[in-house]
C-alpha cells in the first residue's frame, strides 16, 4: 500500500481537517465526565471556533480565478485525494471546493460556534451527548459540501440525519418523537431512491476507464438517454426537494422546527436545508441537463407555489417558530426559482439567498430561542410590548427581521432582487413547443397536454410569458414576507405591555449579545458588500452556466441558458493569500 497522501502537492489538507476537526472535539468530550457541564460546553465551543478559524484558511487560499475546463461543470481546488477508499467498488476519498461550496462551508463554520454558544443555558440535560451530536452534525454537513465522490457525499448526507434526529427527538418539545421520526423517514425515502439513481449512473461510468467509479467528474461525463435522465432526475430531485423542502414535500419542516430545540432549528434552517438546494445545483442539474429542461418550468411552478403558500401559511401562524419555519419554505422557493432559471443573475441570486437565509433565519430562530428561554412559550399572543422591557433585544431582532424581509441594504434584498430579475429574463423556464413535446413523449401514452392547457397559449403571448408570470407571482412573495414578519414583530414587540410576566423580562445578557451581534453584523455586511461574496462565486457560476448551455445545445434546446461574460472588475483574479504576498513584495 502506498503512503497515504491526501493533499495534492504539498499544500495543507484543509478540507479533511475541516471535516474531521469536530471529531477531535468529540473525542475530547468523551473523556470529560458528564457532570462537568461547563467544561463540556466550553470544549464544544472551542472546537467549533477552531474549525471556524481553520475555515478562514480556505477562504484565504481560495483562488477565485480558477474556471472550469470546457466540458466540465465545475473546477475544484484545494483538493484532498483522490485516495482509494473501497477499492472493490471504486469508491474514493476525494474532496474539493469551488465558488459554490466555498461560502456554504464558511456559513456552516460561522454558524456552528454561535449555535453552540446559544445552547449554554438552553440545554441542561444530557449536555455531553448534545454537544457530541452537534459536532457530528458539523462533520456531516461540511463533509457533504466538500465531497467530490458521490458515494462519499451520500455517506455524509445520511450521516447528518442521525444527530439531527437525536437532537429533535431527545431535546425537543412535546411532540418531539413524532417530529423526529417524520423528519427521518421523509428524508430517508428520498435519499434511498437517489441511491438507486446514483448506482444506475455509477454503472454507466465503466465503459471508458474500465472500472466503475463514483467520482462526480466521471459521473458527469456519462451520456444518458433522455428517457433515463427523466427517471434519474426524478429520483435525485425527490431527494433534494424533500430536503429543501419544496412544496408539496414540505410537511415535515414546520413540525421539525417547532419541536426542535433552538440549536437544532438554527442548524436545520441555516445549513441543512441548503443541502437540498446545493444538491440540486451540484448533482441533479449537471448530471441530467436534458431532463432538467423538461422539468424546469414545473420546478419553477412548484417553487412559486412554495413562495406564496409558505408566505400565506406563515401569516396565519400563532406560533413564532412555525411562522419562521413557513417563511423558510417561502424563501427557499425564491432560491430554487433562481437556481432553475439558468441566467447569471438568477443563479447568483439563488446562491446568495442560500447564504442570506442561513444568516437571517438562523438569527430569527436564535431570537425566538431567547424569547422562549425567558417565557417558555412560543405563542405570539403571549407576548406584546416586549420592546419596553428588552430594548437591546428589540433592536437586534428588528435588524434580523428586516434582513429576512428583504429590506434594501440588508442581506435578504440582494438575493431576492437578483433572483427575480434573473427569472424574468430566463429562457429556461419557458414552456416551449418542444418542451411540451418532451412531456407527451415521456408520458408514454399519458399525455400531459391537459396541464399545458391551463397555461397561456404559447402562440398567443409568446413563451416568455411563463418566465414573466413566475417572476411576477414570486415577486408578490416580497410583499407577503414584509406582511407576516413585520406583523409578527409588531405583535411581539410593540403594543401594550399588558402581561405581568412580560414586564420583568431581563434584557440580553453578555453571552446572548456575543452570539447575536455577529449575526446582525453579518446580515448588514452581506447587504452592503454583496460583491465580497459574489465575486469569488462568479467564475464558478459562469463555468457552470457555460457547461449547461453546451449541454442544452446538445440536447436541442439551444439558447435556453443565458450566459454572459462576467465583469472583470467584479471578480478578483487571485486568492487573498496571493494578493497579500504580492503586496508584501
Amino acid at each position: 500500500m502506498e503512503p497515504l497522501s491526501l493533499a495534492n502537492g504539498d499544500s495543507f489538507p484543509w478540507l479533511t481537517v475541516l471535516t474531521f476537526g469536530p471529531m477531535l472535539g468529540v473525542l475530547a468530550l468523551m473523556l470529560v465526565p458528564r457532570e462537568q457541564k461547563d467544561a463540556l460546553r466550553n470544549i464544544a465551543l472551542l472546537t467549533t471556533l477552531g474549525v471556524f478559524v481553520v475555515s478562514l484558511g480556505i477562504y484565504f487560499y481560495f483562488d477565485p480565478s480558477v474556471v472550469p475546463a470546457s466540458g466540465e461543470p465545475f473546477a475544484f481546488q484545494l483538493t484532498d485525494g483522490p485516495v482509494d477508499w473501497i477499492g472493490a467498488l471504486g469508491i474514493q476519498y476525494y474532496m474539493g471546493i469551488d465558488g459554490i461550496s466555498l461560502w456554504l462551508v464558511l456559513l456552516t463554520t460561522f454558524l456552528m460556534p454561535i449555535t453552540v454558544y446559544s445552547t449554554y443555558s438552553a440545554v441542561e440535560t444530557h449536555v455531553k451527548e448534545y454537544m457530541i451530536c452537534l459536532l457530528f452534525l458539523q462533520t456531516g454537513m461540511i463533509g457533504a459540501l466538500v465531497s467530490l465522490d458521490v458515494f462519499l457525499f451520500y455517506i455524509f448526507w445520511e450521516m447528518m440525519l442521525i444527530p439531527m434526529y437525536l437532537i429533535i427527538g431527545v431535546w425537543g418539545s412535546d411532540k418531539r418523537v413524532y417530529a423526529a421520526v417524520k423528519f427521518f423517514l421523509y428524508t430517508m425515502v428520498g435519499s434511498l431512491l437517489m441511491l438507486i439513481g446514483i448506482l444506475y449512473v455509477y454503472f454507466q461510468t465503466g465503459d471508458a476507464s474500465g472500472g466503475y467509479s463514483f467520482l462526480f467528474t466521471e459521473m458527469a461525463a456519462v451520456d444518458l438517454t433522455f428517457n433515463e435522465q427523466i427517471w434519474l432526475f426524478g429520483a435525485f430531485f425527490l431527494a433534494f426537494a424533500i430536503k429543501v423542502p419544496l412544496f408539496p414535500f414540505h410537511t415535515w419542516l414546520p413540525l421539525a422546527h417547532v419541536q426542535a430545540p433552538t440549536a437544532g432549528s438554527v442548524i436545520l434552517a441555516g445549513v441543512m436545508l441548503k443541502m437540498g438546494t446545493y444538491g440540486l445545483l451540484r448533482y441533479a442539474f449537471p448530471l441530467f441537463p436534458a431532463a432538467l429542461k423538461a422539468y424546469a418550468p414545473w420546478i419553477g411552478i412548484l417553487a412559486v407555489i412554495g413562495v406564496v403558500y409558505g408566505a400565506l401559511m406563515a401569516m396565519v401562524q400563532d406560533n413564532v417558530k412555525s411562522l419562521v419555519a413557513y417563511s423558510s419554505i417561502s424563501h427557499l422557493g425564491f432560491c430554487v426559482l433562481g437556481l432553475v432559471a439558468m441566467t447569471p443573475q438568477a443563479l447568483a441570486g439563488g446562491l446568495y439567498i442560500m447564504l442570506a437565509h442561513g444568516i437571517s433565519t438562523g438569527g430569527l430562530f436564535l431570537a425566538v430561542g431567547i424569547l422562549y428561554e425567558r417565557r417558555h412559550t412560543k405563542e405570539i399572543s403571549d407576548f406584546g410590548g416586549i420592546s419596553k422591557s428588552m430594548p437591546i433585544f428589540a433592536t437586534l431582532f428588528m435588524v434580523i427581521v428586516f434582513a429576512s424581509a428583504g429590506l434594501p441594504g440588508l442581506n435578504g434584498f440582494v438575493g431576492e432582487f437578483l433572483a427575480l430579475l434573473g427569472t424574468a429574463e430566463s429562457h429556461f423556464l419557458w414552456f416551449t413547443g418542444s418542451g411540451a413535446a418532451v412531456f407527451t413523449q415521456t408520458g408514454g401514452g399519458y399525455s400531459l397536454e391537459w396541464a399545458m392547457a391551463a397555461l397561456p397559449a404559447v402562440d398567443q403571448v409568446g413563451p416568455e410569458m411563463t418566465a414573466y408570470v413566475l417572476a411576477v407571482v414570486a415577486a408578490t412573495g416580497v410583499i407577503w414576507v414584509a406582511c407576516y414578519l413585520l406583523w409578527m414583530w409588531r405583535r411581539v414587540m410593540f403594543g401594550p405591555l399588558d402581561k405581568e410576566e412580560n414586564r420583568v423580562l431581563s434584557d440580553l445578557n453578555t453571552r446572548e449579545m456575543v452570539y447575536m451581534i455577529p449575526v446582525v453584523l453579518m446580515a448588514i455586511f452581506m447587504g452592503v458588500f454583496p460583491k465580497f461574496f459574489l465575486g469569488p462565486m462568479e467564475p464558478s457560476m459562469h463555468g457552470f452556466l457555460e457547461y449547461m448551455a453546451a449541454e442544452q445545445k446538445e440536447a436541442g434546446f439551444d439558447g435556453s441558458v443565458v450566459v454572459q461574460e462576467p465583469d472583470d472588475d467584479w471578480t478578483p483574479d487571485q486568492s487573498p493569500a496571493e494578493k497579500m504576498r504580492e503586496n508584501n513584495r
Partner: protein, 560 residues
C-alpha cells in the same frame, strides 16, 4: 471403478478438509468430559463457555490457515469440498457461535440453566454447519443439514420450565422435521431421475435429460424435486411464506441463542443454496438444431418458471411481509424476528441478481457480504436484549427499553449501532451490505435490460424505509422516553466483550469494508463444483482480482 475408489482410504491431505467440522465436534466431547469433573451444583460453569469459545476460535483459525490451501476437486470420494466458499461460511458460523456463546453464561445462570448441554449443542450445530457448507453430495448435505438443525431445535426448547420456550422448540421441531422430510422427498426424486446424489453429476445428468427429446417425461419430476429442495432452504432461511415459525421461535428461545439461530443458521442455509442451485441446476443446454435451437436452463429468468422465478416470489413476499408486520410489533424480539424475514428478502434480491445468468455469478459476493454485516448487527441486537434479561424479568418490549440508553451509555451506543446497521444507515456495515446487494441488482438490470431487477431494487429500498421506522423505534424508546424505575445492570465481562466486538465490526465493515469484500469475492471465485459456464466467469474474476490487488494470488484452487 467406483467400488475400488470407495475402498481406497482418502489421502492424508484430505483430512485437513474436515478439520473445520471436526474441531467443534471434538470440543463438544471435551466439554462433556470437563463437566464430569465439575463439582457442586452452585458453582458457575462459565469456564465451559470459554473452553467452547476457544474451540470455535480454533475453528476460525483453521479456516484462516486453510484459506490458501483449497482444492477444486471434492474430497472424501466426492462428498465434501474444501474451498474458500465453505471456509468463509464456516468462519462466519463459528464467529457467530462464538459470540453467542460469550453472551450466554450470565443469561443461563440467571435462568437456573447453567448446564453444559447448551454449549455442547451449539458446538454440534456449528459442526453440522461446517459440513453442510462443504457438502458436495446430496446425502452428506442432508445429514449435515439435520446435524445442524436438531441441536438448534433442542436449544430452542432449552428453558424447559418456560412454556414459551417449550412451544418454540415444539414448533420449530415439528415444522422443521416436516420441511426436512419434504426436502428429502425432493432429493429422492432427483435421485430417481438422475440415479446419483452427487451434485456435479446431477447437474450434468439433469441438463442431459432435459435436452434429450426422448426423456422429456423426466422434466416434471426434476422440477418437483428442485422445488421441494428449494422449499427446505426457504424454511431454514425464514423466507416468506415459509416463515411462520420464526416469530414464535425467536420469541420463546433463550435470547442469546436466538442471535445464533437468526444468523448462523441462516448463513449456513444460504451457502448450500448457492451451491446446490448453481451446481445441480445451473447448467445451460441446447435443444434442437439450426433455426429451432432452444436454450434449456433451470434458472428460468423472469417467468420462465425456473428457480429464479421462485426466488423472486420469495424475495418480494419476504420484504413486504417482513417489514410491514415488523412495524406493528410491540415486542422487540418479535420485531427482530420479522425483520430477519425481511433481511432474508434483501439477501434473496442479491441472490436473484447474481443467479440470473452465469455471467453474474460473481455478484454472489454481495450475498456473502450482506450475511456478514447482518450477522454482527442481529447478533448484537439479541445480545443486548439478553444482557438485561433475568429470571422472571424479561426485557423485550419497547417499553422495557425506555430510557436504557441514558442509564447504560455504552450498551445504548452499541444498540444504536446495531439498529442503524440493521436499518442500513451509513456509516455502518448494514448500509454497505444493502448497497452491495442493490448495486448488483441495478447492474444486472442494466446489463440485461430487464427492468424487473431495478424495480426489485426499488421495492427493496422502499420496504427498507419501513425498516428504518421500526429500528428507529428502539432508539426512540431508549433515548426519548424516561424510565420510572432503575434497571439492574449486569456487568458480565464476556457478554460485554461480545457486544463490543459486534459493535466494532458493525462500524468497521461500514467504514472500511474493502477487506471483507475482497474476501467474499475470493470465496465466490473459489467456489468449487460449478458448471463450466460459471467456471469461466470465476476464472475471469480471479484474474481481475489478481490484477486489482496487484499480488499474485498463490493459494486457492491450484491442485492439478
Amino acid at each position: 471403478m467406483p467400488t475400488i475408489a470407495l475402498l481406497t482410504p482418502p489421502a492424508w491431505a484430505e483430512f485437513a478438509g474436515i478439520l473445520p467440522g471436526l474441531i467443534p465436534a471434538l470440543t463438544a466431547l471435551v466439554l462433556i468430559l470437563l463437566n464430569v469433573f465439575h463439582r457442586g451444583t452452585e458453582s458457575p460453569r462459565d469456564y465451559l463457555a470459554y473452553v467452547a469459545s476457544i474451540g470455535l476460535g480454533l475453528t476460525l483459525v483453521t479456516c484462516w490457515v486453510l484459506w490458501d490451501d483449497t482444492l477444486t476437486r471434492p474430497i472424501f470420494h466426492g462428498t465434501l469440498y474444501l474451498d474458500r466458499f465453505s471456509l468463509f461460511f464456516t468462519g462466519l458460523c463459528s464467529a457467530s457461535g462464538l459470540l453467542a456463546m460469550l453472551m450466554s453464561p450470565r443469561f443461563l445462570r440467571s435462568h437456573g440453566l447453567d448446564r453444559v448441554e447448551y454449549y455442547m449443542l451449539i458446538l454440534l450445530s456449528v459442526s453440522g454447519m461446517a459440513f453442510l457448507v462443504q457438502s458436495a453430495d446430496l446425502l452428506t448435505f442432508f445429514v449435515a443439514f439435520e446435524a445442524m438443525s436438531i441441536p438448534v431445535y433442542c436449544i430452542a426448547a432449552f428453558m424447559r420450565r418456560d412454556a414459551r420456550s417449550a412451544e418454540a422448540g415444539m414448533k420449530y421441531f415439528i415444522l422443521g422435521a416436516f420441511s426436512a422430510a419434504l426436502m428429502l422427498y425432493g432429493i429422492a426424486m432427483l435421485y430417481g431421475a438422475t440415479g446419483t446424489t452427487n451434485l456435479e453429476v446431477i447437474g450434468e445428468t439433469v441438463i442431459g435429460l432435459m435436452t434429450d427429446p426422448a426423456s422429456q417425461s423426466a422434466n416434471g419430476i426434476i422440477m418437483l424435486g428442485m422445488l421441494l429442495v428449494l422449499s427446505g432452504f426457504a424454511f431454514k432461511v425464514a423466507a416468506a411464506p415459509f416463515h411462520l415459525w420464526t416469530p414464535d421461535v425467536y420469541n420463546g428461545s433463550p435470547t442469546p441463542s436466538v442471535g445464533f439461530m437468526a444468523t448462523a443458521v441462516k448463513a449456513a442455509a444460504f451457502a448450500p443454496m448457492i451451491r446446490v442451485l448453481n451446481t445441480a441446476f445451473g447448467h445451460v443446454g441446447q435443444m434442437g438444431a439450426g433455426e429451432a435451437v432452444q436454450m434449456i436452463s433451470l434458472r428460468g429468468g423472469f417467468y420462465g418458471y425456473g428457480w429464479i422465478d421462485v426466488l423472486l416470489v420469495l424475495a418480494g413476499a419476504s420484504m413486504v411481509l417482513g417489514n410491514l408486520v415488523a412495524i406493528t410489533q410491540s415486542n422487540v424480539k418479535r420485531m427482530l424476528a420479522y425483520s430477519s424475514i425481511a433481511h432474508a428478502g434483501y439477501i434473496l434480491v442479491g441472490f436473484i441478481a447474481s443467479g440470473a445468468e452465469a455471467d453474474f455469478f460473481l455478484y454472489h459476493d454481495a450475498v456473502l457480504f450482506y450475511l456478514v454485516s447482518y450477522t454482527f448487527g442481529t447478533l448484537g441486537a439479541f445480545g443486548v436484549l439478553a444482557y438485561f434479561e433475568r429470571q422472571g424479568r424479561s426485557v423485550e418490549t419497547y417499553d422495557d427499553l425506555a430510557g436504557l440508553g441514558w442509564q447504560f451509555p455504552t450498551i445504548g451506543l452499541l444498540m444504536g449501532t446495531f439498529m442503524f446497521s440493521s436499518a442500513g444507515i451509513p456509516p455502518t456495515a448494514g448500509f454497505v451490505g444493502k448497497l452491495y446487494v442493490f448495486k448488483s441488482a441495478v447492474d444486472v438490470g442494466q446489463a440485461t435490460g430487464d427492468l424487473t431487477f431495478i424495480w426489485l431494487a426499488v421495492l427493496a429500498v422502499l420496504t427498507s424505509v419501513a425498516g428504518v421506522y421500526y429500528y428507529l423505534r428502539v432508539l426512540v424508546s431508549m433515548y426519548m422516553y424516561e424510565r420510572d424505575e432503575e434497571l439492574e445492570g449486569v456487568g458480565h465481562p464476556a457478554a460485554k466483550f461480545a457486544l463490543v466486538v459486534c459493535g466494532f465490526f458493525s462500524l468497521y465493515l461500514g467504514i472500511l469494508p474493502g477487506g471483507a469484500m475482497d474476501m467474499s469475492r475470493q470465496a465466490v471465485i473459489d467456489m468449487a463444483g460449478a458448471p463450466e459456464s460459471i467456471q469461466e466467469v470465476q476464472q475471469d474474476g480471479r484474474e481481475a482480482l489478481q490484477e486489482r490487488l496487484g499480488v499474485a494470488d498463490e493459494g486457492g484452487a491450484s491442485d492439478e
